[in-house]
Amino acid sequence: MEATTRSVRDGIAAALSQTVGRSVEISDNTNIARDLGLDSLAVMNFIMALEDEYDISIPLDRVAQVETVGDLVTAIEELRSRG
């Protein structure tokens, strides 16, 4: 489980770097909008990239509950185990 969590976090970091166009340092506590300066549109586009990366569906209402990288890791792990 620990290993999966780390790899999901790495996947998020890679997708985030692509979205913001530079490498980013993240932890579970990183606030996606505030700390990384992503507006709501950028967040939604970044979510589409993660859907493809993990072959899952992340509905918008689920995105609305996500504030930190940790929230996102939890959401992705839940959605992956569902599929």
């Binding site: 507006d39 549109l41 939604m44 569906s57 992340i58 509905p59 918008l60 209402d61 599929g83």
Partner: protein
């Protein structure tokens, strides 16, 4: 702390706009003279951003019908159709729209925005799935929130991406509804509807097309993109508006679903708002007659759209992918867009300043919408002004003789 303190960054942006001169939120016309001309600060101004596609807002027959209705039936219905009942006109407009689209059923809403809210929130709910184009209009996003359903976005105008996302949901229970637009309101591009309809058939989803900007604009009889693409059979629900080609206000949905009328007792944006006043209904019915009887209006609109699109594209402006009545010019940055828009306004041309996040790919846009009522001279005046300002601001290369500057 003020209750509105959370909008501090919005306030900053608005102050910035005000500082730059005029701004879209404060534009006030002294008078509107015709579908294509208004007066602004004492200047005659060409209106090139009002979605008045067929130019019917000043049509004498529409005005006459509207005046007749207000005299005979009063200024308003003062309530919703479930509380105060329907007027004859509401029913007649619904029948005429159903007839125009060759469909069994029609529901009329008080605005186009409410039509999307009312239809989306009633068609899907908890346990269902709404699959929307990423560049959907705000009314589609807001309708999806009211629906409290699972919303998945697919990449703009990408049927393969839509297919991939629907495949992921293949085993999920619940209904799936795909939502696309005929013409997208910012860039004027059309949806690849033939391909989207094929995805719909293969995956067993329902398909809704919002023809707000394509009704009266596309298709052999003006029904919109579904008609043009030859896929009306595959489209389960068509949503549209009266505030563009039909020159008034309101919205509608047509469908062949046998139980469509059930929506009248479950759609809250239909049930809990006042119905359209008789004068609006009357002019809208007449405008629909004009749309059906005069295909020349559409021909003129198409010719004007082509004239503006070709003119601006040839000059070297970055325009959208298709010559439709919405012609958008991409600006290099926000500041240039604001200054450019102000310069056009001072020169006597009004159009829309569209700033991120309301625009695709965070690109600031100057958005024109052409009307059948524009004269070729008005279109040419607009192009000349675009060229002049474009060179001044360095959006276009300076002409050779001024190359040193």
């Amino acid at each position: 702390m003020s209750i509105l303190a959370k909008y501090a960054s919005m306030k900053g942006a608005l102050d910035g706009l005000r500082h730059a001169g005029q701004n879209p939120f404060d534009v006030k016309f002294d008078s509107v003279l015709s579908p294509t001309e208004g007066e602004l600060d004492g200047r005659r101004t060409i209106l090139l951003g009002t979605n008045n596609y067929l130019g019917l807002t000043f049509d004498q027959s529409c005005i006459d019908k509207s005046v007749e209705a207000v005299r005979a039936q009063g200024t308003g219905t003062t309530g919703s159709r479930i509380a105060n009942g329907s007027y004859d006109g509401h029913k007649r407009l619904e029948q005429e729209l159903a007839d125009f689209y060759g469909r069994e059923h029609c529901m009329v809403f008080t605005t186009g925005y409410q039509a999307n809210l009312g239809i989306l929130s009633a068609l899907v709910g908890r346990g269902d799935h709404l699959i929307i184009d990423a560049d959907s209009h705000a009314s589609i996003y807001d309708g999806s929130r009211l629906a409290q359903t699972e919303v998945i976005r697919f990449r703009h105008n990408d049927p393969k991406d839509l297919h991939k996302r629907l495949k992921r949901l293949a085993d999920a229970p619940g209904d799936k509804l795909i939502v696309v637009e005929g013409i997208y309101s910012m860039l004027g591009d059309t949806a690849p509807l033939k391909e989207i309809a094929a995805v719909k058939r293969e995956t067993g989803a329902y398909l809704l097309v919002d023809e707000a900007h394509s009704m009266g604009v596309l298709g052999p009889t003006g029904r919109g993109l579904a008609e043009l693409a030859g896929v009306e059979e595959d489209v389960d629900f068509i949503v549209g508006t009266f505030s563009k080609s039909l020159g008034s206000v309101g919205g509608f949905c047509v469908s062949d679903h046998p139980d469509f009328d059930l929506l009248r007792v479950v759609s809250r944006p239909y049930m809990f708002t006042a119905s359209l006043p008789p004068s609006i209904i009357a002019s809208t019915i007449q405008a629909l007659h004009r749309l059906r009887e005069e295909p020349e209006l559409r021909a003129r609109l198409t010719a004007n759209a082509r004239r503006l699109y070709d003119g601006l594209t040839t000059l070297g402006f970055a325009t959208g992918p298709e010559a439709n009545p919405i012609v958008a010019v991409a600006m290099p940055d926000r500041e240039t867009a604001i200054a450019f828009w102000n310069a056009l306004l001072v020169g006597g041309l009004y159009l829309n300043l569209a700033l991120p996040p309301a625009t695709p790919n965070n690109t600031p846009l100057l958005r024109s919408s052409v009307s059948a009522a524009h004269t070729p001279e008005q279109i040419d005046t607009a192009i000349e002004l675009f060229e002049k300002v474009g060179r001044e601001f360095g959006v276009l290369p300076a002409p050779a003789r001024r190359a040193r500057a």
